[in-house]
Symmetry: C2
Subunit: 526 residues, 2 copies
């Protein structure tokens, strides 16, 4: 199927609009056909009106119908075949294996949420039975469920053109919750977006859902701002830069009706090398660290941008091995010219900062948009003295901070901003220090991992891809894993409603087949 660059809202295809921009193949700098049209305020308003129209019917679908819809989206994405893989590779500069893996993750994510919708825990059903004889006051029959918030705006991310984009985690979890979705696609991969958007629209049609259940728009920042300001939008999902996320948070807070924004923004993901681990395997850690740091040109939210350890010969061995590995790193193209330019500016600012020294640079890449990898070292006192050193440099650059003693290591940790992850490399002999660090890290990060690297994010039930501000704008949530559905729900209580007016799930017959709380006691079906 040929890409059109058209704006499609519901069942209306707006052909012939001024097509204003083309995607760029970051590996070559070449523009890719076709040209794509940007949506303006009128198109945003139309999409939001359709989403609002769709809301009641869509949220009223049965769990089975909604699960089947999510699975149908996955099937339609797979049916796009190689056209999707090739376009995503061309637009992102990412290799085929990575894009194929990401497609699997995206489809798996949709299936995970189909299972979540069917299992029904997300409804958080609760019943307090009537106590008509209670003194001094009778108790009513009270029944609670969670319902969808309303239409959700999703901003696609550049760095996962499938898994965090048009039909990514935010879209999948919002649709699972019963919320229509209006996506502002990332301009880094408009063709990939059009293909996936078409797949979602096909699933909407084949499942007989209202056309306004899903809309994909492209546009400039003003388009995104109009979307967040639209009174019909009730929540926002975003993955991207801190500047972009904070702008959306401010827009949402300034609305007459403020709405929640789930913005996943920035994180340097501190990695702690404990003394025992460094003594046992400094060189292996150094090499593996650079593998994690440079994976995908370092363009992961969970990229290890900060390493903390006690100064000494073992840390020197780690730095030496990491430097050697870094020198061998031949960079692929970064995702966009803008990301590449921001990376180089960040790397050069660090290189020019008198408080840090550059211990290794990667190879200078051949071709457009190659970001030269870099490894820096600083003393903890200098790190504490200069806030700029704690900011994320999105790409394959990392800073090793040398601490004089454990007190200083803890002090640096307490000063860190909120993070998506914190990693401990440790041996059994490090347990006492680790026990001291874990409670500090818990209040700083959404995920704490041991003897691994933060760049793998499992899509599962226990995952948390979130964390205190400014890792995200709302640390009470996760954007990956089944708990992400909770972001788009709110509780409603029904008091003494006749059974025929109760939502299906809260009637006695349905309750028996669903997990619920009865008078404060958890009950499982069967």
């Amino acid at each position: 199927m040929a890409l059109t660059g058209d704006i499609v809202i519901g069942s209306e295809r707006l052909s012939g609009r001024a097509a204003t921009f083309r995607a760029v193949d970051p590996a070559t700098g070449a523009a890719l056909e076709p040209a794509f049209a940007f949506a303006g305020e009128a198109e945003v308003a139309r999409a939001c009106a359709l989403a609002e129209d769709a809301f009641d019917a869509y949220r009223d679908t049965t769990p089975e119908a909604r699960a089947a819809f999510l699975e149908a989206i996955g099937d339609e994405i797979m049916a796009l075949g190689d056209a999707l893989i090739e376009r995503a590779c061309a637009e992102s500069g990412l290799p085929r294996a990575r894009i194929e893996g990401e497609r699997g993750r995206t489809v798996g994510q949709l299936k995970l949420f189909a299972g979540v919708v069917r299992a029904g825990n997300w409804l958080d059903l609760r019943v307090d039975t009537a106590l008509p004889e209670r003194k001094p006051l009778a108790r009513s029959d009270l029944r609670q469920r969670h319902i969808a918030l309303g239409p959700v705006a999703v901003f696609g991310a550049s760095n996962f053109p499938l898994a965090f984009s048009v039909a990514g985690g935010d879209t999948a979890s919002a649709l699972a919750a019963g919320c229509p979705v209006v996506v502002k696609g990332h301009p880094a991969h408009p063709g990939t977006g059009e293909l996936v958007g078409e797949a979602v629209r096909k699933a909407v049609a084949s499942q007989g859902l209202p056309a306004g259940t899903f809309t994909l728009l492209l546009g400039a920042n003003e388009t995104g701002a109009a979307l967040v300001r639209d009174p019909r939008i009730k929540a926002v999902g975003f993955t991207g830069s801190r500047g972009g996320g904070l702008a959306l948070v401010a827009l949402a807070a300034a609305r007459p009706e403020p709405i929640p924004v789930y913005a996943e923004m920035s994180s340097v993901n501190p990695v702690y090398l404990m003394p025992g681990a460094l003594a046992a395997r400094a060189e292996a850690l150094g090499k593996a660290f650079v593998g994690s740091l440079t994976m995908g040109a370092g363009q992961f939210c969970t990229n290890p941008g900060l390493v903390l350890a006690l100064a000494g010969p073992d840390l020197d061995r780690f730095v030496g091995a990491a430097a050697t590995a870094m020198q061998d790193y031949a960079p692929p193209a970064m995702l966009t010219p803008g990301i590449h330019a921001a990376y180089e500016a960040g790397r050069k600012a660090l290189a020019g900062n008198g408080r840090v020294r550059c211990v290794a640079e990667g190879k200078v890449g051949e071709g457009a948009n190659r970001g030269t990898g870099a490894l820096f070292v600083a003393e903890a006192a200098d790190f504490l003295a200069d806030e700029a050193l704690s900011h994320e440099v999105f790409g394959a650059s990392s800073l090793v901070v040398r601490c004089r003693d454990i007190e200083e290591l803890v002090r640096v940790t307490r000063k860190l901003e909120g993070q998506l992850t914190a990693t401990l490399h440790l041996e059994p002999s490090d347990a006492d220090l680790a026990r001291r660090l874990v409670p500090v890290l818990e209040v700083k990060a959404g995920r704490i991992l041991a003897n691994g690297w933060p760049t793998g994010v499992e899509v599962s039930h226990a995952m948390v891809h979130g964390g205190p501000f400014p890792a995200t704008s709302d640390g009470r949530s996760t954007s990956v894993g089944s708990l992400a559905i909770r972001r788009f729900l709110r509780p409603v209580c029904y008091q003494d409603l006749p059974a025929e007016l109760l939502p299906e799930a809260l009637r006695d017959a349905a309750l028996a087949g669903l997990p619920h709380m009865m008078d404060g006691k958890a009950v499982l079906p069967g």
Copy 2:
């Protein structure tokens, strides 16, 4: 025990500070001894520093220890005996039976959260087991729990000097979650606050908890602003006016690190009189309605300030019966001179609005701060034309809106702001209309009730005392009932952590005794 009016922070009693104000007995207008000192920025900073110091130790308490603490608070409140009842009556103008009932509710609420803490559902424990053989990538062991957000600021409400104040629902749920609490007590009942604050401090001491676990401060608006701005505060609970709530929301959003604000602000709590119900019992409904409207001088968040019905003889009968009941209403004192003045201003604005007519006034009260009850009627078209008619008048004033037909009734409903409650009075013959209204009401209100009155709010598991903006600032939550604990929690994931570093609840032995999710499947203990 004698009231002192002192500021107490942790174990420090700041005697001799300038004592700037006295409580007023609203029933007489007389000032009550002693004078109370206002905390300034320095005291706020000190309380927040102590709360932060207490945070790690407090959140690390066992569920049993935390539950025992909540129960001990309840015991200490009961041990205050009649001194508490008498002071609360004097400061609020509320009758003894009401205050005794509210004390029971407050202590019961603390016990409810003790049970919630012990049961452990709030931890939302989840485990995804390691899959070392999985291809292409092994899966790590992932374990999730919820932890406390950090120190919480609670603003006591004027209208429930016990249940929504110093040791009320916000404080109980935040303490249950593991958050230290700094309360800004409401200046309407400083003596009641001091007594309850002392009870909480005794429980803190007897349970061996850090002194910063709880602080009560009094102060002006600037004191509250300093509290919300303090970087150590991580969430805010508030019940009060829309103006006050929105000011806190704006302050919290403007912080370098924005934090959640759970402000319960305003609601007119629409009551729908369905045709069948009106036909069957218009007079009884009219009388019962005025009973709910005037209860506690109308000073409930869930007070029925708006009635919607189809115009016609049955509605006329309802209005006639309500008018008769209203004329008999002899008002008690309202809570404060300020609330009384605001009520009279609101009532007079309605009386002077050409779009409404006053069909009944209550008796003119004898003594200070008596708010004359009032019943108004307007046509739906006029209601739709003037937004002022939909605003809350806090007190015993309500507006009956006459709709020409069902379409207009639905149109008015769709235009309503977010509400705490919506009430349906119906007969079986009204089922079709009710079925049409319930989905509209679900997106407008936190609780939908049938054939009752919204002014009773059960403290239980299925209750929702919340609702879309501007009923609250965050419709994803409730401030009453066991779900309120979730407001003060965030998820953390532990990946491949050695068992000895895992939080106790996530180790295999403890998991067996707690509700949890294992590989996506809910599991109950035993």
